[in-house]
Chain length 682, copies 3
């Protein structure tokens, strides 16, 4: 958790800055203005390898020495990025083996970013050198407080098929399986005669007819990509740790094929997230009641799950997008402030804006910063100035408090990664996760996203009254036991279709569905069907209420125990009348099983039956307002975020203190467009 590492006693703000982009005579004014805005931190240097090492083995620090000294003059603390996200052209020209390669064999070259692979020994060596040089040079610099490793590991691309990756994977597989027999068994190579007879034959997946590789190999491949990424970060973290005393280490994310929980636990001091809620404007969302920018609360909850409170290293502060893709509108007036509070509400203790001034060159010249190309005043900087003053007021009190949730959605990497290829359940995970998150959000019930893995204990889970674990196709005997214990001790859990039919290799068990949790839920699946793309959607009726569409997959449930309650039925096709939702009390707790994919409407119905604790004794809130709760030993903070573009009525059922005005308020109130309120009891 960031609070043990960072020696601030308040929530702090800052900004990303690129001194190398601007004439030196702008720097001082820029730093001065940052200070005026109340900023504490400035991040620099993450794309500056050639500045530091203009030719191999020749190092220069003048530019950043000057910039850091000037920043320090204005009491700014400097975070330095290691520049390995963008290798210099002299490097890729001399050592083309460091380049990443597409699955079909196209080598990615100089001209963009992240065109390297993690397993090239040469790249690891040259990265270690530049990091060693930079850290050695700056370890005693009084203004440099911490390090960001690389930049956005696995952003843009998280697949690696260079020769070095193929070789490293072979060794990874040898290490994991020890024998070819074990590997053949795990990958099910007897199917389609894929049996390996020599380690030389083993590689990452290759181009194939119909672009379809062995799915078990493809799952291991993703585990390997994650391990490779973590190993690459570790090389740098080890150097920094070895050479420094007080400087901390982090990296910013979050991106694919990377076990961020392991990364946070093993490699870095705390996690830094890059939050761009306006990506919601370039993603088509045809679901009912779309979350839009509020979906970033789901992302932030995921990040909080990595290791508690965290930092934002890039907070969107203007229109975003590349020259040729991802073009985003400008944030509406109020949204930058709203999103900054959104980050804090979910546990961020530090918010750095991306970026000080919009770049006048390159692929990201439309990723606008606080300032436009010119240095003229604009509404965004005015808004951030207001926010900064507010946070100066509430920041010290909020700092160190933690997000409060009594319900959680369970996630795990095994199913995420296996599900990327497996269309028979993979897409359902995201759909159901979002449906449940919406149901919690619109009912103002704070929720965590909690990762479950081999080390998870029942104590960890028992923090939560309710767990939602939608479509864990891969579910081991040990996990089933863990979840059964959780229920026995009083927990409630909800499963969806396709649960429990696969082992850790991604191979189906020879067991009735839902595998090892059948005993817990008391049912087996007697018949099932995927819902075809061009078929009319079947329907379900839950709790004898009106029908909903049962999209994706339908499982007809068979109660194996008398104590199983049937809470819902399918209502059409040949399985009309068959059970679709069951509930079984077990020990002190309860287990639900739904033979389908969760829509928001279905999650809402089940949520009503789960009866979670909520805050309705304090608030009467409209749907567009998120309620987040941060608490420390002294106080509970209720943070209300209005995502609507218009004013919204709300009701405070008990008198509270408005932490931004120190006034006591109660009764009917109005939140203006994109408004944020922080309340606590006096």
């Amino acid at each position: 958790m960031i609070n043990k590492i960072i020696n601030e006693e308040k929530i702090t703000l800052g900004v990303c800055y690129y001194p190398e982009h601007w004439p030196e005579d702008l720097w001082e004014d820029d730093f001065k203005r940052m200070k005026e805005l109340g900023f504490t931190y400035v991040r620099m240097s993450e794309f500056a390898w050639t500045i530091f090492e203009p030719k191999e083995g020749h190092f220069e620090f003048d530019l950043f020495d000057k910039a850091i000294a000037l920043a320090g003059k204005y009491n700014l603390k400097v975070i330095l990025g290691t520049p390995t996200a963008t290798p210099p052209v002299w490097l890729t020209e001399k050592y083309p083996e460091v380049l990443n390669v597409s699955h079909n064999g196209v080598q990615f070259k100089h001209g963009s970013r992240r065109h390297y692979n993690y397993n090239s020994k040469k790249y690891q060596e040259l990265s270690a050198t530049i990091v060693t040089e930079m850290v050695t040079h700056y370890r005693d610099n009084p203004y440099v407080v911490g390090w960001q490793i690389d930049n956005e590991l696995n952003c843009e691309i998280s697949e690696f098929y260079a020769e070095a990756d193929h070789m490293a994977f072979k060794n990874w597989a040898k290490e994991k399986y020890q024998s070819l027999d074990a590997l053949n068994e795990a990958w099910g190579t007897v199917f389609w005669n894929q049996t390996y007879t020599s380690w030389d034959q083993v590689s990452l997946t290759l181009p194939t007819v119909n672009d379809t590789s062995n799915p078990h190999q493809a799952l291991d491949e993703k585990r390997f990509f994650s391990d490779s990424t973590i190993n690459f970060a570790k090389i740098q973290a080890d150097i920094i740790r070895k050479l420094t005393k007080d400087q901390w280490v982090t990296t910013n994310g979050m991106f694919g094929h990377l076990d961020n929980h392991q990364l946070t636990e093993d490699i870095i001091d705390f996690y830094a997230y890059d939050s761009y809620p306006n990506f919601s404007k370039v993603i088509k969302d045809t679901s009912s009641k779309p979350l839009r920018d509020r979906k970033w609360s789901l992302n932030l909850s995921t990040v909080r799950g990595f290791g508690g409170n965290f930092a934002i290293f890039e907070q969107q502060s203007g229109p975003g997008g590349w020259v040729n893709r991802l073009e985003q509108p400008a944030p509406k007036p109020g949204q930058v402030k709203l999103w900054s509070y959104q980050s804090i509400a979910h546990g961020s203790e530090m918010v750095l804006y991306f970026r000080w001034r919009t770049a006048t060159k390159g692929t990201e010249m439309y990723w606008h910063g606080i300032n436009d190309y010119h240095n003229l005043p604009n509404r965004r900087i005015a808004e951030i100035e207001t926010f900064s003053k507010e946070i100066e007021k509430v920041g010290p009190a909020l700092y160190g408090s933690t997000y409060q949730a009594k319900v959680a959605i369970l996630t795990d990497y095994q199913n995420s990664w296996d599900g990327e290829m497996d269309k028979w359940y993979g897409n359902f995970i995201g759909q159901s996760k979002e449906a449940w998150f919406k149901a919690f959000q619109y009912n103002h019930i704070p929720v965590d996203l909690t990762n479950i893995n081999k080390k998870t204990t029942v104590d960890h889970l028992s923090k939560y009254d309710i767990l939602i674990y939608p479509h864990a196709a891969i579910l081991t005997k040990e996990t089933a036991k863990l979840l059964t214990n959780y229920v026995e001790q009083g927990g409630k859990i909800v499963f969806g279709c396709r649960t429990g039919y696969k082992d850790l290799t991604g191979q189906p068990y020879q067991k009735a569905f839902p595998g090892y949790i059948a005993d817990l839920v008391g049912i087996t699946v007697s018949d099932f069907t995927l819902v075809g793309a061009y078929e009319a959607a079947p329907k379900v009726s839950l709790f004898n209420k009106d029908e909903q569409e049962a999209l994706g997959f339908n499982e007809i449930l068979h109660a194996d125990n008398d104590d199983v309650e049937i809470l819902g039925h399918f209502t059409n096709d040949y399985y009309a009348g068959e059970p679709a939702l069951t509930k079984r009390n077990h020990g002190k707790g309860t287990a639900y099983y739904f033979g389908g994919v969760f829509s928001y409407e279905i999650a809402e119905k089940i949520l009503a039956d789960l009866k979670p604790d909520d805050y309705s004794e304090y608030f009467d809130l409209p749907e567009s307002v998120e309620l987040a709760v941060r608490k420390n030993d002294e106080k509970t903070f209720f943070i209300l975020l209005n995502y609507a573009s218009d004013a919204q009525p709300m009701k405070l059922k008990q008198p509270m203190i408005d932490c931004l005005t120190d006034e006591e308020v109660t009764g009917s109130l109005t939140l203006t467009a994109y408004d944020v309120k922080i309340y606590s009891f006096s």
Copy 2:
């Protein structure tokens, strides 16, 4: 025809089984249960190369020896597949030249299936070796009755651009054309200066700007792919024939770029089809009155055209699809039985289900078999058990009877292959074929799909009262003469637009359309237009009835003879009032020409004028019910298949025997959902 080869006197059932996938201790129970289900055949080993030859030149037969012996113990007859569809990784590692390559030069590698090319001498040699070894080992095995060559030749991919293919094509072209002048003439290389001046320059089509190659070369390329496939099958068939006495040879299909008629005539003993009607659930069909799974009757009719009665080597018995594509719903209760009868109705004498148990590993772990991953009872196995009992009752009588059709749709490979590239008629063939098939189906008129080629005689065609030959762009003088003779002898024939304007190279004649059949139909095309993608559809009125859309292509017809009857006109645009459909009596027969693409509605109207024989004196049937007729020397069987998900009324106008119950029935009856009835006269 299968009946001369297979020594059964009944329709037989069976299943595909993969002993190598399962622990040995499951085998005996599996075979025992197969026997209980009434199965006669079990197919094995088509993906087991590495089991037989774990390293080059080292052969092992233990696993299959045991499995075959056990199958034999339960009176199962074994069909062995040669394992060449999936080369071992030791093979592709050592001899990468055996791999197939995409048109753009990407080499397909280990990890899926069918990643080899047919023309690699090394692959031919290694294939010959494994086939020789297997056949030598099993030729005297009392339980092994026949061989399946490879598996699904040209499935997944039917284009081959490895170096070996380019070289083989050069030789194929040299053999065909003898001189470069002849090749240049046939490929029209004078256009765009493509003239070849040395045989070294000749190859398969290559990557080009806009991905558009010489169309005449592209046509020859498809002929070559077919010849290559047949040659590869022949290498294996010759070995099997040379080494065995009573064992038969087949292969399973059907897939692209392969002259299955030639294959069936020259290489194999009978054809085996793999029937998966639930693919209809993953293909979007926006046509009117879509055929859905009933379209497999069109496929089965096509297969019947290869060589009469046939076998089904893979009959869909559950949900299908790969891990990452083609995801299909489960068959509805009754559909597996319906589809099995559909196969038999169209001439199948043997039905093997795919497959005994759903694989728990690999790309096809969702191609469900009769059994699920577990061995628990399910509704599909119950349904097959019912079906097996029915077929035990009716199978002996039905066996050897043949499908009866007095009308046929003509097809040929030249136009299919040329039309793949040629958007000016190619797509029309499939549309019109399906439109006419629908019209025949919904009017309960059994129809054949008949191939026409150089060897076709007027006697062969004269079996049919009516022929539909929709858009034969390529139509030689000889074919025109053949069809003229057919009409003179009393046949009726229907042509569509774009008929007869090309020769066998795919080059237009310098003749008025429709080329050599102009005399037969008595018209020429005086003006024409393709219908643009963004234009409103023109209309036609046929037989002075309401208008239909005239999609695709419009030809304005000019009657060159007085005896030409104008049966329809275009009704809008500048050619309103111009002839669109003509009819001319010639000899004892009649020739129709329609200057457009056939829709179902248009085919219906013309069909009414054609007045084909039908079975309306016996039956009054709803649209959803297919009528198929099989007949032998003794009896005529009327097979009624209800594709609807609900009960359908029908009427038997004369008393008949229900062959499944032996009861006499007549009058108004009901077919339940997916029901099948077999009637005959007592």
Copy 3:
């Protein structure tokens, strides 16, 4: 301008002919028939390299010698194409380095056309040789009057990534920037650490992650492609000029990545355009009131801008399209004549039809010519015969007259090329250009398309009362000064959003928008937003009238001067009521600024305020009729073209002479479908 070069005193017709495709015995009849049709020109040989040079260094001229002599016998003048668009297979086989390569590294090979690159020294050398040989052979031929260089330079593909192109670009960049520092500055390589430290590292853009290259390099790349194309044409032009006396030089277009203005000025004698208006049938156009084939008037106006009157070397004369793409319907009766007049109306002095007879082979066997495959009469040839007679009558008078326009739309290559990659304004240019063109067309106001570049003078611009310059993101201080002068001298100019924020490298200025023209228009942009793909469109109200959608991009304008008139406002979202359209009188003229992308409806509204001169005193015309005006010293010709498929009423307000009938006409008249009238005062 063509009139100084071609020694005709009338508008002439002709046709493209391929003697190499047809038996020699057809030639004489073909030429004879051309003569009867009134044709003057025949173009030949542009794809005939192998005919002339069947093997390297061995030349043959017999075929074309004979064809040219025969053409001459029928008084046809011959235009020869240099055959470099289609290298022989012996050439590409021997020198594969001449082949073009895709951005991702796929080499384009023999089998189509234009598969070579411009920078291969070997290809330049072999091209020079064949051109030298042909010109030497034909320079004294009395029938050969001119040369077409290559064929459709940059058609099909206008990107080149062969090794030779990478090398040539390196040299081009060295030449342009002289130092790496200058190059790094221009390409903004400090962003993402792309700094080049050696010239060896410099290349064209390379394959990258997410297929996104440095945008400034990408802009230079397009300039380089244009320079390479022009250089390749120059090599040939120089040879022709050096070896010939009276023969002229041209090339036909127009295609991408080519500065046709520079080409016309520096390399060729006049420009030849290939006009295929039926491409409008294969392009989806969902805009309001689509222009369809009338959009070719926009193209023709663009071509006229290259250098005044021009020629048409390929005028569509039948259905068009390749075997496998671009399938077009047949022109309706009257359209070929209409389109021929459309070419002439816009300044063409010569119209060659593509082509004499439809090819019976190759990729373009559906690019129909005047004649079908056969030589039978058809409606198209009859229509051309009529047209030829008409042009014989009016051609002499029209010849040498020039198109009259008092308004112009400004275009430039810098923004076109930069905007290809830049989604933040690039697509707006075409949308607004078309919207304005529509507004002018439907109001019957002739308009020019005028290129603006470094050499443009205020005198040149002052020919126009009104200029529209929609979205010139790149706009230099010099250009701003030029446009300011234009306004000061009395011109009216209209700008759209995104004007003036970039310099010539494509890098944004550090200035308030709209940069250097802010003073002229008197406003700055105080806030802005791109309109997201999934957002509801904002609205504007102009001139206090009903609302229009404000798609694409919205700029909130701030009037910096008192004399700025606010003519329109946004009407919703947070910027409702903010200025969207301004007008400022400056000097004797006026400058408008619209903070959005122009739709047809918006252009119409502004046009009403601009009050351009029109011809309403002479005509009352329906929307479907285009009015073009050609004028010479003696006379003004009003050419009326009816694009509608039905008759259209019109009114002549003053008596005029119908130039085709010599009759005086006045009052209410009717134009039949696709009709053309030419009027002048007596």
